[in-house]
């Protein structure tokens, strides 16, 4: 058992932390949020040059052969800076599906560009009526002579507006909520029959409703095996869940530190409010919530390669803890900042909003409690 970072991992931490400090200040981020694209392509290129986009891919596929720990490091640092660039969608989600299920052709054509930062991707796993159940798929894929035709709607596809490639789940057989009969397809975002409604999310990201109206795909566009997409998607969503747990830990850390600093300096009734025991104990409760969340994020990331049953329980347990901690720390950070916590000009509200969305993303606390106890 070992809870220490390797020397290489420490270098990665330094490099991502330096980027957040030097290149991703609060004002920079606010400008990105207001921009047309909703992300900075030049910064994304920089991620590519620094090798961050190649981290989880095997050396055979041209990547750096990193483990879940490297992804955890990057996501935790991104959480501290509230990075909105499409790392989760492109590298963790789409990259994860291709890494574990992509055929040779897909890996050869898509991964090099993805790692270089010239290709962005997003994944459609949710539908208007599916809620958090990955097996609840009504989008259909009908067999044709040379491939398939997709029909349906994918909702809240994160980073959809900027994606060049989309990977979507569709039903090739079975009933609406059967795990068997789900197939994953990779399609061009600009393919005939694809239409998008783009919008901002409350936490500063961009997303799309994606309508698939007779989109023709070939046999070679299937990711993984026909009818067996669920296990692959379930695994990669677990990886992404562990990744956003780490992101939340970074955001919670920053939020707790900011609140602590505020309590030390804000004077009321003739003394810093941090002298009041009721404030001190609240900050201790936040600190404990943060430490417990961090422990669970590490645990989940280190168990991603365990047998599926153990992996699911580990990830769900972590998501429950992160969901509770994130809500508590977010709400209390706003509370202890008083009126200032309510403003758009202070970063606190922005962290709170991101944490609130993470609480829901890939299944909220109730969903994961049920999944854990199942």
């Amino acid at each position: 058992m070992d809870f220490n970072y390797s020397d290489e991992q420490k270098l990665l931490i330094d490099s991502v932390e330096r980027f957040i400090q030097d290149d991703y200040g609060f004002d920079t981020r606010r400008a990105i949020l207001k921009s047309e694209d909703g992300f900075r392509r030049d910064l994304w290129q920089k991620f590519g040059e620094l090798g961050w986009l190649a981290v989880p891919f095997s050396e055979e596929d041209g990547g750096l052969g990193g483990t879940a720990v490297e992804t955890m490091i990057i996501m935790e640092c991104f959480g501290r800076g509230l990075v909105v660039e499409p790392y989760l969608s492109t590298v963790v989600l789409a990259g994860g599906l291709l890494r574990l299920g992509g055929n040779a052709g897909q890996k050869e054509t898509i991964l090099p560009e993805l790692m270089a930062g010239t290709l962005l991707a997003a994944v459609g796993y949710a539908e208007p009526t599916s809620r958090f159940n990955l097996a609840d798929v009504s989008t259909t894929a009908e067999k044709t002579s040379g491939g398939w035709v997709l029909k349906g709607r994918k909702s809240v596809v994160l980073h959809g507006p900027m994606a060049d490639k989309l990977i979507v789940s569709a039903r090739t057989s079975g009933g609406q909520r059967d795990q068997a009969g789900i197939t994953l397809f990779v399609i061009d975002a600009g393919a005939a029959g694809v239409s998008r409604q783009d919008y901002p999310t409350v936490d500063g990201l961009r997303a799309s409703e994606i309508i698939l109206d007779g989109v023709a795909v070939g046999e070679a566009d299937v990711v993984g095996a026909v009818g067996e997409g669920f296990a692959l998607l379930d695994r990669v969503i677990d990886e992404a869940t562990a990744a956003i747990c780490a992101e939340a830990v970074g955001a919670m850390e920053t939020l707790h530190k900011a609140t602590l600093e505020y309590a030390r300096t804000r004077v009321q009734f003739g003394q810093p409010i941090g002298r009041f025991q009721v404030i001190q104990h609240r900050l201790v409760d936040m600190y404990m919530a943060y430490e417990q969340a961090k422990s669970m994020a590490i645990m989940a990331n280190l168990k991603l390669d365990a047998a599926p049953e153990e992996r699911r329980r580990a990830v769900s347990a972590a998501k429950v803890q992160i969901g509770k901690s994130a809500r508590f720390i977010g709400q209390q950070a706003v509370q202890l900042h008083g009126g200032m916590g309510m403003t758009d000009e202070l970063n606190v509200g922005h962290y709170f909003k991101r944490l609130t969305m993470i609480e829901t993303l890939f299944g909220n606390t109730d969903f994961h409690l049920k999944r854990y106890a199942a």
Binding site: M1, D2, F3, N4, Y5, Q9, V69, L260, A263, R264, G274, R275, Q277, I279, Q280, H281, L283, V284, D285, Y287, M288, E291, Q292, A293, K294, S295, M296, I298, M299, L302, K303, A317, V320, Q321, L369, K370, Y372, A373
Partner: protein, 397 residues
């Protein structure tokens, strides 16, 4: 970062497991598994078995009788003891006064006291709290006045756990009332059979007798029983509390508690089905288990820091707070699972009388345990005091 055990660790785990299987006395095991009130002899006999093996003091430095184990090995050892439901190591000698003695005492005192602690031939109790000094421990009033080569001790201590079984007490006493509170305290050891020592039982709300009042009426204590410097007792007292906290998470025991809860919830019926299938109960159980997993990994991270020579720091107060909250929650859920039969007060059976138990055996003592475990958030520095410690020492407030 890696959660897996090395081949050596796995071999160690097998060694510990088979040692316990072969050496844990069946009669003690039966009593502990049934949840009966333990006897002094149960603890002493088990600690002696561990002592013979050289495993009774894993936290001690090797030169004083420790094991020299890695943090992972200590973790495995605790896990195995917890899983087997062996008697907990009584902390007063091995976890409290022992470390104070090997850290601050003279060579002569070490030679005199450490062997009896390791062999469990001497049972210690802790003279800290007083009727007027609970969380505000430094306000203590028990007085020790130097007369030649003796201290004359007068005053009283309370909540003294298992004092009725104790041979010796380590006691915080006031040796100087003219200086700042914390600077007038000294750390004295004395024999509980000394003339002038009286022990009176305190029966707690669960009907049990664990704690006592101790009265000292002109008790004569030789000066060679003073640990360290006169007036420095507060430093040693705080050092000791730090050690007390590090084992207090009780993760392995809580794991066993949750496993037992699951068994109970599988047999208790609600609406014709097992209670475990009741979604509300199931949800509470799942939340508790997740809370415990988080605590387990927080403890492992603390151990990892410790093995790099950092700690146990004040962040170990988290382990005390979360550990006790979870221990209490387990007993709450046991009472809930017991339903009406939680009413039956099987006190005499719990104390070992040959009496039939009313209701299912698995929940026979659920309510007394629940009431008893309320102590955990009060003792060892109440959880509110732990939060003060974190606020001051970790958050810098």
């Amino acid at each position: 970062m890696d959660l897996s055990f090395s081949a050596e660790d796995l071999a160690f785990q097998r060694e510990v497991r088979s040692f316990i299987a072969e050496n844990y006395p069946a009669d003690i095991k039966a009593r502990f598994d049934a949840g009966l009130e333990p006897h002094k002899e149960d603890f002493v006999r088990w600690q002696k078995i561990l002592f013979e093996k050289g495993w009774v003091a894993p936290a001690w430095p090797k030169e004083y009788g420790g094991t020299g184990w890695t943090a992972t090995q200590k973790y495995i050892f605790q896990e195995e003891l917890g899983a087997a439901n062996t008697p907990g190591i009584i902390p007063f000698g091995l976890s409290m006064v022992g470390p104070v003695i090997y850290t601050f005492a003279t060579e002569e005192q070490k030679k005199r006291f450490l062997p009896g602690i390791l062999s469990s031939d001497v049972w210690w109790c802790q003279g800290y709290s007083e009727p007027g000094s609970g969380s505000d421990l430094a306000s203590l009033k028990t007085k020790a006045v130097r007369q030649g080569d003796k201290y004359i001790v007068n005053g009283s201590k309370t909540w003294t756990t298992m004092a009725q079984w104790a041979d010796w007490i380590f006691c915080l006493v006031r040796t100087d009332s003219t200086v700042k509170q914390q600077e007038g305290i000294s750390f004295l050891l004395f024999d509980m059979k000394s003339p002038g020592v009286t022990v009176r039982p305190i029966i707690t709300l669960d009907g049990g007798h664990e704690v006592n009042e101790c009265f000292f009426d002109n008790v004569e204590v030789p000066v060679e029983n003073l640990i360290g410097q006169e007036g420095q007792g507060w430093t040693y007292a705080k050092f000791l509390l730090g050690h007390e906290r590090s084992g207090i998470a009780a993760v392995a025991r809580s794991k066993r508690g949750i496993a037992k809860l699951k068994q109970i919830a599988n047999t208790e019926l609600a609406d014709g089905g097992p209670l475990i299938e009741d979604p509300d109960y199931r949800r509470k159980l799942a939340e508790l288990e997740i809370d415990l997993t988080a605590l387990e990994y927080t403890e492992l991270r603390t151990l990892a820091r410790e093995s790099q020579g950092k700690g146990p720091g004040p962040e170990s107060s988290i382990l005390k707070i979360k550990g006790t909250e979870i221990q209490q929650a387990i007993t709450e859920l046991a009472v809930e699972a017991a339903g009406y039969y939680a009413f039956a007060f099987n006190r005499r059976a719990m104390d070992g009388a040959n009496e039939p138990i009313i209701g299912p055996a698995a929940t026979a003592f659920a309510a007394p345990s629940y009431f008893n475990m309320r102590k955990t958030s009060i003792y060892g520095g109440s959880n509110e005091i732990q939060k003060n410690i974190i606020a001051k020492m970790v958050l810098g407030l």
